[in-house]
């Protein structure tokens, strides 16, 4: 039996939650600035969507690793998620969560287009998740192959 450790996890797997710097309120935009009323409306809508995501997430309690999942959320300007939410299949309605996450992601992608944002094209991959101290969380460290 070979006992070795996989060389590493990509950067994206080492963080619990990441986010696009160039989100609402960030000055790093290009092209004409959005109209103030539009910005306020965007911010309000994003807040509502984010709160909907958090409401669906609830407290991700768990008794086993198999109950834990990571769902991509948000959109980088070059594509792919800007972060992941970790949730518990035991306490979260994943279908409803997916619906609000999808709406949130679409909205952020639309904002990326409106504000002509640019980013690198590294695709952020899902973090490995585990049931730790009774709650689902992203797992740090390197998975082993023993």
């Amino acid at each position: 039996m070979t006992a070795w450790r996989r060389t590493s996890l990509p950067r994206a797997l080492l963080v619990l939650l990441t986010g696009s710097l160039l989100s609402v309120g960030c000055p790093a935009t290009r092209g004409p600035a959005p109209h103030r009323d539009e910005t306020v409306a965007d911010t309000t809508r994003l807040r509502e969507l984010r709160e909907a995501v958090e409401q669906q997430l609830g407290t991700p309690t768990c008794t086993d690793r198999s109950q834990c999942r990571a769902m991509p959320v948000g959109a980088k300007p070059c594509g792919g998620p800007s972060s992941y939410v970790v949730y518990s299949m035991a306490t979260t309605d994943s279908v409803r969560l997916a619906a609000v996450v999808q709406e949130y992601t679409a909205y952020q992608a639309d904002l990326n287009r409106k504000q002509e944002l640019v980013s690198d094209c590294q695709f952020l991959s899902a973090p490995p998740v585990d049931c730790m101290a009774g709650a689902c969380a992203a797992r740090s460290g390197i998975p082993s192959r023993d």
Partner: protein
């Protein structure tokens, strides 16, 4: 065969008209038994073919993505040149990373505007990170992991990344110093990389910064807005890599692209990660070579935008496809900003960001071989000799297909190969004769005594006279037998006459079920087989080997297209049994410390029947060779 991987590879081969012809070509048949042929050549059994592999300790982790573009075969032709200049417009570089420092130029520039980024612990950090805006130093001083916060608060910098420096990763694929025995290698072992910093410490930046970076990389004047004279590099880069993008087309950026192209630069850009049917920008601008990303199974990565009909595909990794197996990503140089130290191994990422530099790197290899080529000619070499994927001809999904370094350098679609026929004594397993086949595939053995024989045939590469040996890569060496490699049909010779045996050959694939000695597949000394372990510890592959005479013999597994234990290749375990199924010896890893998870048994054997059993710890592909000697 229940191998999705092999089936996909077969489909890929079938989809390319040129390769299709090669697959159907090796018709080896017998006629004119007794006709005298040319003098017999010298045949040498060896572990692997003539591909060149670098000495880097972590190369096995890179083997799949470099193997997919036939880079080991290309390195036999060119490994780069210090006279070729490639610009990387990205997030900056680390001159103190020993894995790439020797290939960096000192004429880069930093175009990152200084913006304040909120820090999660309070206060702000700088997106420039170096205390100012535009300056001549393209070093990335910091790289932050960003964390989302409840809206309307923007994301904040949660801390320094332990595996960061996107531009360093991209540049490392193009040209991390190769064959120096340390860390990883780039597509080019030697090259000049001009680092141009346009993205900040968060991996993002202003469009104007990117535009200025493009102009500077192309040797064009850039007005910094500081009131002084424009800044300008001494020359235009021949190739420019842009592993960045936006969903929006910017007129100003398109004009910068046009200006760079007019300066003679070939621009290579990531197609984007939105799984859309059109590339992002700048990849979507006319004349920019858009690069979509493939996973190890030669399918479009789930995240990748399409290449576009004028684009191309290259390995970008697909970590999501393998249940968290990190070896499915792209390994390159990176930086640990927490320890402030270079890293090689904690740096397996995926994205179209990782695919583009494979193409930019091969473009530089082409120029190293043929420095006088124009940007359009280099582009033609890349696209015109790509390995077709999808429907015949260019398509919107894969563009011109999968980048192939060997093809682009040799301006051919496959290695040249000549056919040879080999006669085995079916009773003893001894090689009786090996003869070259005629151009139409016909062959003949002369002076054959009465008896029972197996007829095998193989294709060498570029006239190296080696048949029946595994050759990791997209093409491999065809090998087969009358009746099938796993179940060869004996030809009984009884008196003078003609004994026809016509068959086709390809890469020899195991025949399931072969989990026990009773269903074992045949394997001849001087031959090889391609196998798949479908389920680790459930599926085993057993082969029956005839040892013709007392002596030293070697049985060895290798990767199908990469290295054992990485990506879709299995981490094998090899056991040798006697004719009664009694274990004789076994081997797990050839060199665990150097990440060689293939297996090899070498020992003195007496004539007779033996069995080999291949198990795998991961499930996946392997090749198994039997040869005389070490």
């Amino acid at each position: 065969l229940d191998s999705k991987r092999l089936q996909e590879a077969a489909n890929v081969l079938k989809s390319d008209p040129a390769v299709l012809a090669v697959e159907r070509n090796p018709i080896v048949y017998s006629d004119d038994y007794g006709v005298k042929f040319a003098p017999r050549a010298i045949y040498v059994d060896r572990a692997s073919a003539a591909a060149i592999l670098p000495s880097e300790e972590l190369y096995p982790a890179q083997a799949w993505h470099y193997g997919l573009i036939d880079l080991p075969s290309a390195w036999d032709i060119a490994t780069g040149s210090a006279s070729i200049l490639v610009a990387v417009v990205d997030a900056g570089i680390r001159f103190d990373h020993p894995g790439i420092a020797g290939n960096l130029t000192s004429d880069g520039y930093d175009f990152v505007t200084d913006l304040a980024i909120p820090a999660c612990g309070g206060g702000t950090v700088s997106n420039a990170g170096d205390g100012g805006g535009y300056d001549p130093d393209p070093t990335i001083p910091a790289d932050y992991d960003m964390q989302a916060r409840p809206f309307p608060l923007p994301p904040c910098a949660s801390g320094l990344s332990s595996s960061g420096a996107h531009g360093l990763h991209v540049a490392g694929t193009i040209g991390a110093v190769g064959n120096d025995g340390v860390g990883v290698t780039g597509v080019n072992w030697v090259v000049r990389i001009r680092p141009v910093r346009a993205l900040g410490t968060s991996g993002s930046g202003l469009s104007t910064d990117v535009i200025n970076g493009i102009l500077y990389a192309a040797g064009l004047p850039v007005d910094t807005g500081a009131g002084g004279p424009p800044i300008q590099a001494g020359s235009a880069a021949r190739i420019m890599n842009l592993s960045l993008g936006s969903s929006v087309s910017s007129t100003a950026e398109s004009l910068a692209v046009v200006a760079a192209q007019a300066a003679g630069v070939l621009l290579v850009a990531a197609s984007g990660n939105s799984a859309l049917t059109a590339p992002a920008y700048p990849a979507g601008f006319p004349g920019v070579l858009s690069v979509a990303a493939l996973g190890p199974n030669i399918t479009l990565a789930g995240y990748s935008n399409y290449a576009g009909v004028n684009g191309i595909t290259a390995p970008g990794g697909d970590l999501a496809s393998g249940g968290g197996d990190p070896s499915l990503g792209i390994m390159s140089t990176a930086w640990d900003f927490q320890a402030n130290s270079p890293i090689y191994d904690n740096s397996i990422w995926n994205g179209t960001s990782m695919a583009a530099p494979h193409v930019a790197g091969v473009a530089a290899l082409i120029l190293a071989q043929s420095p006088s080529l124009t940007a359009d000619q280099v582009r033609g070499r890349l696209t015109g000799f790509a390995f077709n994927l999808g429907v015949a001809g260019p398509d919107n999904t894969f563009g011109f297909g999968l980048l192939n370094a060997r093809n682009s350098l040799t301006q051919s679609f496959a290695p040249s190969g000549t056919l040879h026929a080999r006669l085995y004594d079916a009773t003893t397993g001894a090689i009786v004769q090996t003869v070259p086949a005629a151009g139409n595939g016909s062959y003949a053995f002369s002076g054959v005594s009465d008896g029972n024989y197996y007829v095998f045939a193989g294709q060498d590469q570029n006239g190296d006279q080696q048949i029946g040996v595994p050759d990791a890569g997209l093409f491999g060496r065809r090998w087969g037998s009358f009746g099938g490699t796993s179940t060869p049909t004996g030809v009984t010779v009884a008196g003078t006459g003609t004994y026809p045996a016509s068959f086709t050959i390809a890469r020899p694939i195991e025949s399931e079920p072969n989990d026990a000695t009773g269903t074992a597949s045949a394997l001849v000394v001087g031959g090889y087989v391609v196998g798949v372990i479908g389920s680790p510890f459930v599926d085993s592959d057993v082969y029956r080997v005839l040892i013709p005479q007392a002596g030293q013999y070697t049985f060895e597994t290798t990767g199908y297209s990469g290295a054992c234990g990485f990506a879709l290749e299995d981490d094998t375990f090899l056991e040798l049994f006697d004719v009664n199924g009694i274990p004789i010896t076994s081997n797990d890893d050839i060199d665990l410390g150097n990440l060689n998870f293939c297996s090899r048994i070498t020992m003195a054997l007496s004539p007779g029947t033996y069995y080999l059993r291949v198990d795998g710890f991961l499930g996946g592909n392997y090749e198994l060779q039997a040869r005389s000697g070490n």
